[in-house]
């Protein structure tokens, strides 16, 4: 399964940004323009801060972060060495999005194994 296929059955997703551990964008879905228009890149520093704070609180490795804004919800998946940021409409099923974490883990590990 590929990243676009994984999210295809969930309606209301506006944009997806996948970046590596250094913050460099790896993939932008559905298009570069859609991600740039939402300025998803601005979330990157806060993803780092969240991981840092989570470690300090003895919560250990951060898995997912959901932020609810008045206009949309942002789900950040921490799947080392990648961080996947999904911007979705407020009506999108948050549970369905959170359940993708394990699928994302397997896709990332498959991809890394193939590369190795």
């Amino acid at each position: 399964m590929t990243f676009p296929q994984l999210f295809s059955h969930i309606d209301g997703i506006e944009a997806i940004l996948i970046r590596d551990k250094d913050g460099v964008p790896v993939l932008k879905l559905p298009t570069n323009e859609a991600v740039d228009q939402l300025d998803l890149q601005t979330l990157i520093p806060s993803a780092h801060i969240l991981q840092d704070q989570s470690s300090r609180m003895n919560l250990k490795q951060l898995k997912t972060v959901v932020t609810y804004w008045s206009a949309r919800q942002i789900i950040t998946y921490n799947v080392p060495p990648l961080v996947i940021i999904v911007a979705a409409d407020t009506n999108v099923n948050t549970g369905a999005l959170l359940n993708l974490y394990k699928d994302l883990q397997s896709i990332v590990s498959e991809t890394l194994t193939q590369r190795a």
Partner: protein, 135 residues
Amino acid sequence: MLKPKALKEVLAQMTNGGIQSTVLLTRDGALLAYSGFEAKDAKIIAAMASSIFAAHQRVRQTPSSTVPQNIVGSGDLNMVLLDADEGKMAIAAVATQLVCMVSKTNVQLGMLKAKMDALSSYLQEPLRQVSQSNN
């Protein structure tokens, strides 16, 4: 006026069923009331929660003057839910204050969010009145 004892009792009602601590704090991280962990730990949670929430607020505020309204983070930030290996955390804005809940891993995120929504709506009006009287 806020009654500290009553406030602590309200927070204590939420601190059960896997919820380890419930903390009410100002946006700059000062502890107002807490239930669950000891005062020392509650202060740490308050500082962390404030920092996490502020990190998102900065995302919203930095580009406000130059970037169109449809960017990520336009509008109000209502809640942050964190799911980590050793626990879960929810932070919500209530009037001009923040409420933070820390739970064990066995608490489902939906339950954490439902409890946070209930607490937020219960505290919203009293805290709004207090913040208005301070202005």
